[in-house]
Every structure is written in structure tokens, then in C-alpha cells.
Symmetry: C2
Subunit: 246 residues, 2 copies
């Protein structure tokens, strides 16, 4: 009983969580490792099994460990789903967050495309090219078109070879997929969007090929701005077909 006070009032759950976090952060617990059993952990830290399970469950939702039924608890590589969950909940309670998330997406992609200009390899180029072609093929389809659009943008982020940027971008994917689709549905309303979508993405692609970060960033940024403009026009019902691109 007296050993419990290992760290100033840590209250059971905190104790277990801190214990595991320590090992995980210190690196003594690495992905693939199997934790000791819940019972051992419980007796080791002087807490009950339910408390241990609370801590393990907490680490599970954080994507740090995975509880395998009748097998044990193993450390996993950090997973994106946490961020997905978070954004899902966050968005549900703050609908106005969508614009915010969009801003974050722009941030991530514009940085990613700069890195992509430096780091992209042949495979990345090919993936981008395929995505670009797909955009042209599916220009008249809302669903497939939105998918192709998203794939292209994801290819940019992947080409940055930055795990963190990819993770962040993916975490917003769920939310933005909807955005992509609704944008695609505007194609029928704005014929000029076809050229906008195709030409813009082609210009972006070319900038990456040219390995010109500034141009790529600027082009991508303008691409987003024009997309916003279209959406704005759709909202106010200002249906026309002027210019585009630019």
C-alpha cells in the first residue's frame, strides 16, 4: 500500500499511463514489442486490472498500442486514425471549423509541394501524371472526379516524402472528401471549371516537374483561391462562365 505513492499523488490511471508513456518515450518500448500482461502490469504498479485497462485503452485510442484479444498488448506504429477521430469530433461540434481545416490543408499542401519539388522521384512523378490523366478522364463525373482530384493532391503530399505532412493531410482527408465532391458537382454549373480543373492541375504538375518550389507553391495557392471563388459564386448564385484559370 505504501509503495503506491510512487509519484506524488498520481491517481492510479495516471500512474499506469505515466509508466507506459515513460517506456514508450524513452524508447524501451518499441513498435512490435509485446507489453507484459494486464495482470502483471496491475500487480507491478499496485493497481487493479480495470485501471490498467483504462490506460491501455487510452493508449489504444491514441494509436500507440493495439490490444489483441487473447494475444496481448503490442506497441504499434503511430496511426493517423487518432487525428481523424479528433477532427471528426471537433468538426461535429464546431461546424465553422471546416473553413479552418481547409486553411490547414492549404498550409500542408503548399509546404508539401515545395518539398516535393526537391524530393520527388520518378515514381512520384509517375503517380502525379497518372492522377492528372485521371482528372481529365473523369472530368464529367462527380464521384470519380472528386476522387481523382483528391488523389492528385494526395500524390503531391506523398511526393514530399514527409511523414508528418502526409499524416496531417490524411487526417483531414475525410472531411475534405466531402468538400471535393461538392466542388465537383459545380462542374455542371460552371462549364469553365473544366478547363480550370484540368489546366490548373497540369500547371501544378509542370511546376513540380520543373522542380520550381516558388512557382509550384504560387500555382497551387492560386488553384485553391480560384476554387474558393467558384464556391463563393455558387453560393451567391452567380452562375456565369467567365475566364477561370488566369
Amino acid at each position: 500500500m505504501e509503495l503506491k505513492r510512487s509519484a506524488e499523488g498520481e491517481k492510479g490511471f495516471e500512474k499506469v499511463f505515466a509508466f507506459l508513456r515513460e517506456r514508450l518515450l524513452a524508447g524501451s518500448l518499441k513498435p512490435g514489442d509485446r507489453l507484459i500482461s494486464e495482470r502483471e502490469l496491475a500487480s507491478l504498479l499496485g493497481v487493479s486490472r480495470p485501471i490498467v485497462r483504462e490506460a491501455l485503452r487510452a493508449l489504444t485510442v491514441l494509436g500507440i498500442v493495439e490490444i489483441r484479444d487473447r494475444i496481448g498488448t503490442v506497441v504499434t506504429r503511430p496511426d493517423v486514425s487518432v487525428l481523424n477521430d479528433f477532427f471528426t469530433f471537433a468538426l461535429a461540434q464546431q461546424a465553422d471549423m471546416l473553413d479552418d481545416v481547409m486553411q490547414a490543408r492549404v498550409a500542408i499542401e503548399c509546404q508539401a509541394i515545395r518539398l516535393a519539388c526537391e524530393r520527388a522521384n520518378i515514381a512520384d512523378f509517375e503517380r502525379l501524371q497518372r492522377a492528372l490523366a485521371k482528372i481529365g478522364e473523369t472530368i464529367d463525373e462527380a464521384d470519380a472526379g472528386g476522387m481523382a482530384d483528391f488523389d492528385f493532391h494526395r500524390a503531391i503530399v506523398v511526393a514530399s516524402h514527409s511523414e508528418t505532412l502526409t499524416v496531417l493531410h490524411s487526417s483531414m482527408a475525410g472531411l475534405l472528401t466531402h468538400s471535393h465532391r461538392s466542388r465537383r458537382e459545380l462542374v455542371q454549373a460552371f462549364p469553365s471549371m473544366k478547363t480550370y480543373l484540368i489546366d490548373d492541375h497540369r500547371r501544378i504538375f509542370e511546376a513540380v516537374i520543373a522542380r520550381d518550389p516558388e512557382r509550384a507553391d504560387a500555382t497551387l495557392r492560386k488553384h485553391f483561391a480560384i476554387g474558393d471563388e467558384y464556391r463563393r459564386r455558387a453560393v451567391v448564385g452567380d452562375i456565369d462562365k467567365t475566364s477561370a484559370s488566369g
Copy 2:
């Protein structure tokens, strides 16, 4: 046939979690609301209290609810700590992620400063000015200097008035604080860093004041690039300072 098992194999925890998620996503549970007690929830869903606590704990680490001792469980506004925890763990298991996180930070800040140029108000300007002054005052102190540096950058993000960008930036704060400090420790080694730090931040400030997104972005980006350069030089030993006691 039993109602308990009618929920398509949902295994207790999943059942509770799904139940709460449903309410949270549907909006019937909003921030500030107090959930029913654990005991009620348990009997309502036909599970035991420890299971309910697992689910509540899961929501807690996701920053969705807050369990208040002897008060109850209340729904909170989405909190940053989730992302903090995630990035902390993720980084611990992938040390090479630090550079990646830095890239993400650059992404967030460069986007934030663009928004700040549009949205910043007087209070934001004042906060930036104070942070700028602080940087000058603490130029010779590693700890306080690093703090002032970070405060300035945080002020930029805050001035963007974007919740998501702020959240993301904050989530990387913990990791990057260390980076800031070590960078500050280079000041003694590179006297030229003093002018770099002061002048750069002043130029960034001025660009925001001028509400010039392009210039602000470019200046901030250059600021980061120069910082990288200093760090690179320090790594290759292009200096000869008190190499010990680092």
C-alpha cells in the same frame, strides 16, 4: 435475440463508445453538457462500470469529454492535448520525425501569417509588438530568449484567428520548444545570430503590419531557412565555442 447482443457484435466497449460518439456527432451532446452517471450509463447499455469508464477514458484522451472527480463527466470543447500526445508519442518512436514536424510547423506558420495579414486586429499587432520587444530584451538568455522567440511565432498563428492552425501549431509546440532552446544556445556561438534574430522578426512584424501576405510569407520562410543554415553550420562544427556542457 437478446438485446444485449443485438448490436452486431459490438463488444461492450465499442457499444458504449459508439453510443456516445453517436450523440456527440449528432449534436445531442454539446460542450458543457453533463453526461449521465457512469452507473446509469452502465445499466442503460447493459455493461459494467469498468467498461463504461474505458469508453469515457477513451473520450477523455481524445479531448472530447472531461471526467471531473465527484462531479460528473462533461463534454468539453475539442482540446489540443490529443494532438500533443500523439505527436509526442509518434516522435519518440521515429526520431527522424523531428525534421518532418518542423516542416509541418513551417507550413502552418506560413499559412497562418498570410491569414494574419488579412485578419489581424489591433490586439494582435500589440501582442506581436510585445513579443518582438521581448526578443530584443532576452537576446542573451537561452531560456527566456527561446520562450520569447516561440511567443512571437505563436502570436503570428494566433493572429490568423484560425482555430485549426492554432491547434496544430500548439500541438507541435512541445516538440519544438526544445528546438527553440537549442537554437538559442547557438547565439553565443554565432554573434551574427543576434542581428538575425532581431532583424528577421522585425521584418516579419513589419510585413504583417503592412498586411502584405506575400512578403510576410517570404520573409518568414527565409527566416526559417536561415535558422536551418545556422543549425547546419553548428552541426558540422563550423564553430569553436564552448563545445562542452551542451
